[in-house]
Symmetry: C2
Subunit: 201 residues, 2 copies
Amino acid sequence: MSDARAAIDPRLAAAARPRRLARREYAFRQGESARAVFFVVEGEVQLCRVGRRGERIILHRARPGEWFAEAALWSGCYHCDAVAARAAQLLEIPAAKFRDALRRDAALAERWIELLSRQLQGARARAERAALSGAEERVRHYLATHGAGPGGAVELRGSLKDLAAELGLAHETLYRTLARMQKSGSVEREGKRLSPGRRVR
Amino acid sequence: MSDARAAIDPRLAAAARPRRLARREYAFRQGESARAVFFVVEGEVQLCRVGRRGERIILHRARPGEWFAEAALWSGCYHCDAVAARAAQLLEIPAAKFRDALRRDAALAERWIELLSRQLQGARARAERAALSGAEERVRHYLATHGAGPGGAVELRGSLKDLAAELGLAHETLYRTLARMQKSGSVEREGKRLSPGRRVR
DNA sequence: CGTCGCATTGATATCGCTCAAATCCGGTGG
DNA sequence: CCACCGGATTTGAGCGATATCAATGCGACG
């Protein structure tokens, strides 16, 4: 890619500064005043808090194509740490410039609202899914929310192992669950394509 | 309450129309063109899809103080059903007026962006929490994300049973977990006040 | 009082996690 | 071409945490 800034809206790209993080490097830390919003071009950034006893609690994993620290814009300071899980390439947009851009450009604000709305929709669905009790339920929920194309099929991007992590399951459990659902006809698999089956239950 | 509209921003309240739903009544159905955004004053509205075989999958439960169908503004038509889980009181804001208001009033747009940002933050935290393995972990995470005031205490709004639902646990499990954590000193309880304990583990 | 819902504790069953091992597959280097 | 390696995929076995079923106390409320 010639310029990573091409990945975002041109009206914001003007204010964006490319930034690279090595594994375990921090974009910011809890308590620092919120100076910027970030966009993940490549890699993964974990937003986490460190408890009194040193345990790390992950609030969110930001992956390529996602923004993070959007909310920090309005709260004054970062309320968690942002650390690269692996080498990452980011775009950093100063908070002041970001706010100015939104204020000046109504169309941009509208686009940003749209983006936030969709992200919220996705996050709510994920939260609802993670609260489900059974592995099979979660798979069905995933298919219902990510299904597209004929028969609501899903083209898997990564490995089944990745999907297991996304669903909050051990990968062995996912394999077994899928096998069972296949046998009962409630899902169908063709390579990296998953689709809800036609047979009842 | 004299007027439920007092609960939302006055600039939106002007366009809001109060609406009551009986249990099992629909606010809208999947496929209808998106004509309005909603705010829950009282009750609960479930956003769900119905699969080919009649199984209902809940995408999100909208509770008092929450908006829903914000994203529908940008997608043309509703992509799921909205049905009252119990009698509910809503505010309905026509999509066109909502969009106009955002477009005309930059300050309102900014406030709306702020609101969405916060909700997004909250939804992500909930998703991450539900993915945690143990009951104790979830309680700690909840305290970490909702903690405020001295010692990061949390004032519970509803019952412990509600909290259990929020955490995705059976209520019995929550009671037992809290009792254990209390005994080990990792949380303290005073009525409806929960706070992380000082003792290690 | 009677009823209802929350809080609490006990007993039991079940589901999913963990540990373990075999197979498969793509890539890499000789 | 072949040997080797690492990671994904599968399947098995056993254990433990959590859901579920059950029973009781308690306070609010009509």
